[in-house]
Structures are given as structure tokens and as C-alpha cells.
Amino acid sequence: MTQMSYVEGLRDGIRIEMKKDSNIYMAGEDVGIFGGCFGQTAGLFQEFGGERIIDTPISETVIVGHAVGAAAAGLRPIVEIMFIDFIGVCMDEILNQAAKMRYMFGGKAKLPMVIRTTCGAGVGAAAQHSQSLEAFLTHIPGIKVVMPATPADAKGLMAAAIRDDNPVVYIEHKGLLGFKGEVPEGEYVVPLGKADIKREGTDVTIVAWSAMVHQALAAAEALAQEGISAEVIDPRTLAPFDKDSVLQSLEKTGKLVIVHEAVKTGGLGGEIAALVADEGFDLLDAPIKRVTAPDCPVPFSSYLEAHYLPSQDKIVKAVKEMF
């Protein structure tokens, strides 16, 4: 184990895989000498050279589109979309090409590609640079979606995403990049589709991912002071979703709160709630609660933004309403 930041963790994951397999390369805007908009790729250009760490023009359509073609032709591209907000620019390449090719071709194509991108509000970046759009992607069969919350998961999920033979969207939270924690050294893989219990508890299950894991953990801590024992489950991979971990936890707690930074309507929280209502109705002894952003764009004003974001306090309040 060693101390690393989230960004160092994900970079370590990339480095280790790239050293092993020369078919892996990375392409995106300013990933080269600049080292990525938030320093995610710092040093990789120096280590792997311009043939494998490639600066592209501002052309998201072909950044993702070329990865589809390159993957179909046998490479393992990692491409970057600087902010998830820009994903609209390359949505056809994700939605109709990457996600569909294998199925439409009767299983004859393999698309081992990773789309790295960043999400998240909290830095005054306003409506077009702050969104959480994971539900956009989980709605598309054929795409896997991962959202790490800790440095170790950042590393292990990166390795798994690169090794996976499917298109995987790997979403980094801007607010977590500098977050430090223990990370296993050397090769380390966190399997896709496997949730992690970030804190064990018995009275209520809080499902949260990405930055919200840390709000949920803080809330659990505060609730513990008041005698409520909360279990915090981080699915880590949103598609495929590890429903068993959630149902197992509910067997213990009987209460479910889902927390996400994305807006409420059409968010993944609704899907998880439906899933539990469907397959775990008997386990519930209270209505399911969601703590999410309100249904509006991310405001610029720091004051409004602070209120926009789901927080520890809002989670505590939601949990207490159940008791």
C-alpha cells in the first residue's frame, strides 16, 4: 500500500496497462505535453512518447469515432473527452456506433475502448462544465459506465476498464482528483460490476457513488452520533449495476436512501428505486428516498451552487425522516 491521490491512482492504472500492451494508446485534447486539463495525464507523454499519447484537434466526434474504428481494427484506445458535458458532440459515436456494433454484427466485433471524462460541480464552472450525465450513458445497452470514488478504486477500475473488451466510459469527478488515500502498489484490478461496501451499518442503506460517497460517509458519521447505523454502498460501476449488494444490504437495514449528484428526474436513482421495488419490495420497511440535485442546470454563483449540490446535511435529513 502507498499513499496516492485519486489522479495519481488513475494514472498509475493507465501506466501499468500501457507498459504491458503496446496496443494501448491514449488520444484526446491536451493530453500530451500539457498533461490534461486537470493534470490527469502528466508525465505520460514523456514516458510513452507522442506515438502513444496523442494530442488531437478539438474534434470530439472523431476522437470517439476513431476509437471505435481503431478498436474494431484491433487496438485498445483510451480517449479523453475533457468534460462529460461535451459528450453531446460525440453522442452518435457512443450511442449508435460503439454501443451497437457488436450486437448488430451478431457478436463479430469487439470494441475494447475506454472513454475517460470528468464530471461534477462545485468549482464554479457553471452549466456547461459541471454536469453529472451518467444516466445518459447507463440508458444505452452496450456501454459500461464506471465512476470511482477513491484513489484505489480509480486505479483498479482503470485497469479493469482497459482490459475489458467493451466500450467503457470512465468518469472522473473533478472534485476528487486531489483526494488522497491508500492504494495497492503494482498491478491492481477492481472488477467491473462489483459494488464496494464503504462503511458497514445496520439501520439504513445509503447507495452513493463518485463524490457523493464522501458526503454519504460524512452523513453516516454524523448519524452514528445520533445512534443511527448507516451502511454506505458504492456501486463503483453503474452499468452493469451490482443489484445483489444493494438487496443484501437491505435484508439487514430495510431502508434505502439513494444519493447522486445528477439531477433527480431520469437519474439513475429512479432506476435503482424501481429495481428494489421490483425485486426487494418485501425487504423495505419505509419508502425509498432520493437525495439528488434539483431539476435545473448547475448555477454559476457559488452561493447557489452550494445549495444545488446534495450534501451531508441533506442526506442526514433524508435519513432522519425515515425514523
Partner: protein, 320 residues
């Protein structure tokens, strides 16, 4: 083409105002008073100034993430802009937009934009509306060298050309998209070369010469108003600062930076005005003082304004 003294002075004033507004923004950002991203236009003021001097309030512009200059040149109010940078309720967008999203639809400013290349289709649409409504207004689209690699560039210029829309596409070629030098992001040197592919005229001009920009855009606007369709004008220029505040710009060649800083558009104009006795040193000093005064007043206004109320979070999501 003779340009009146009044016009020349207005160029100078506008460029100074943009410069001082942004120098102030640098200071406030460094002091932590302005959140978010701040992209500065310092060094490129001649483009917006020369271009917008050909427009009226009825004409439209679309801007970019580097938008302060376009907005000021198109008549944007300094106090409302500054308040928006602070995220205050009195700002142009009630504090909901910030530096990257300032707009004033009444002045034809269809917004700065956080999405590179997104202004191109919007400007095309505004031009479409001008033509459809048979006003003689035009739509001017500002965008960067980097943005000209977006698919929207191709789709917009093609549509504008076949529909003969009254649009002027102004490419501010500062030779970088963040850290990526133009040499690495396109295989041509003059973006105006691309005009031929759409069957529209394209030209390249010194973007640090406000008079040259003014003259060029004047002709393009004239064509557009008369119904001769769109044009592409490439202005070669340079941003003095990093891509955004906080970027030290290590990817730039210091020698190149130095040569371009010497070509500062404001100093260039100032020298010409003095050389040709259009103004005196005293008048210059007076104009500078005046411009500083306006900025100070705007900061004062912003600082004295309130944060937006919490109800504002959920207003303006839909109309009606």
C-alpha cells in the same frame, strides 16, 4: 477608406476598456473573488473592436469562452458584466451564468459559450432569422482556430453558403487551442483557405491591427447585408496570457510570445494615433483615466450587489 477621428478614438476607447476590464478580472481572480474559469482576451482586443464597430444593436454576435472582448465591443454593460463575474444577482445572467455565459439578447449578444464551436450553428441560425424576417441585420460569429476543427464549422459554413445567409464568420486565430499549436492541429496555415470548400470568400488579415479588421469586416458585412451571402475572415492574433487564468502557458515559445507582445494591438494603435497627430499624449492619458474609472465603478457595483436568492435556483429553467 478614410476613418473619422471619432471612430479612431472609439476604437482606442473600446480596446482600453476591454484591456482594463480583464486586467481587473486577473486581479480579482487571483484574490479569490471570482470563481470558476476565466479566459482572457488580452492581446486580441483589435478583433472584436474592429469587427463590432460595423454592427448595430440589431445585428447578432455569438461569442466564445473568451468572450469579454466581444461583449464589451458589442455594447455590453460593464457593471452588469462585472457583477456576473462575481455571480451576483444584479449580473447579466442573475449570477447563473458567469464569465463563460454572459449574454444580452437585446443587444444581439447571443452569449459567450462554454462549448467550443457551439456558436457557429447558433450564429448561422441568427443569420437565418435575419434573412427570413427580411431585416437587413447580419450575424457575426467569433470562434477560435481550435473551434474551426469542430464538425459544427463545416456544417455551419456549408449551410450558410447554400442558404446565402447574412453571416460573417470571424476566426480569431491565436495559433493555439489550449496547448495545441496550430501546426499540430491542422495541416494548413491559413484557415481562410477553407472558405473555398464552401464556395464563399475567405481572407486573412492582421488581427492586431484594428483598422485592418474594421475595413475587412466592413466589406463582409456590406456583402451580407446586400444578400451576397457569408464570408470567412481569419484574423491572426495572439493571446498574451495562458489559456485560462492559472495556465502558465509553458507550451509557448518565449521568443514568439515576446514578438507578439511587441505587436500589442493597443500600443500599435496608440503609436499610430500619436504619429499622425490624431490625439495628443494628454488626450491619451485622459482616455486611460476614464477607462480605469469605468472599470472601478463596475467593480464597486458588483461588490455592492447581493447574491442571488435561493428561489432563483429553479427559475428560468422553462419560459412561461
Amino acid at each position: 477608406m478614410e476613418i473619422t477621428k471619432e471612430k479612431l478614438l472609439s476604437f482606442y476607447e473600446t480596446m482600453l476598456t476591454i484591456r482594463y476590464f480583464e486586467e481587473k478580472a486577473v486581479e480579482l481572480f487571483a484574490a479569490g473573488q471570482i470563481p470558476g474559469f476565466v479566459h482572457l482576451y488580452i492581446g486580441e482586443e483589435a478583433v472584436a473592436t474592429g469587427a463590432c464597430a460595423n454592427l448595430t444593436d440589431k445585428d447578432y454576435i455569438t461569442s466564445t469562452h473568451r468572450g469579454h472582448g466581444h461583449l464589451i465591443a458589442k455594447g455590453g454593460k460593464l457593471d452588469l458584466m462585472m457583477a456576473e463575474l462575481f455571480g451576483k444577482a444584479s449580473g447579466y445572467c442573475k449570477g447563473k451564468g458567469g464569465s463563460m455565459h454572459i449574454a444580452d439578447v437585446n443587444l444581439g449578444i447571443l452569449g459567450a459559450n462554454g462549448i467550443v464551436g457551439a456558436g457557429q450553428p447558433i450564429a448561422t441560425g441568427a443569420a437565418f432569422a435575419c434573412k427570413y424576417k427580411k431585416t437587413d441585420a447580419v450575424s457575426v460569429c467569433f470562434f477560435g482556430d481550435g473551434a474551426s476543427n469542430r464538425g459544427t464549422f463545416h456544417e455551419s459554413l456549408n449551410m450558410a453558403s447554400i442558404f446565402k445567409l447574412p453571416a460573417v464568420y470571424i476566426c480569431e486565430n491565436n495559433m493555439y487551442g489550449i496547448s495545441n499549436n496550430q501546426k499540430n492541429h491542422m495541416n494548413i496555415n491559413d484557415i481562410s483557405d477553407r472558405a473555398a470548400a464552401y464556395g464563399m470568400p475567405g481572407m486573412t488579415i492582421d488581427g492586431n491591427d484594428v483598422i485592418a479588421v474594421y475595413e475587412a469586416v466592413k466589406e463582409a458585412v456590406k456583402r451580407a447585408r446586400k444578400g451576397d451571402g457569408p464570408s470567412l475572415i481569419e484574423c491572426k492574433t495572439w493571446r498574451h496570457r495562458g489559456h485560462f487564468e492559472g495556465d502558465p502557458g509553458v507550451y509557448k515559445d518565449p521568443k514568439e510570445q515576446e514578438t507578439w507582445v511587441k505587436k500589442d494591438p493597443i500600443i500599435k494603435l496608440e503609436e499610430k494615433l500619436l504619429e499622425h497627430k490624431v490625439v495628443t499624449k494628454e488626450e491619451i492619458a485622459h482616455l486611460q483615466e476614464e477607462a480605469h474609472g469605468k472599470i472601478e465603478a463596475a467593480v464597486e457595483f458588483a461588490k455592492n450587489s447581493k447574491d442571488p436568492s435561493l428561489d432563483e435556483l429553479l427559475t428560468d429553467v422553462y419560459a412561461g
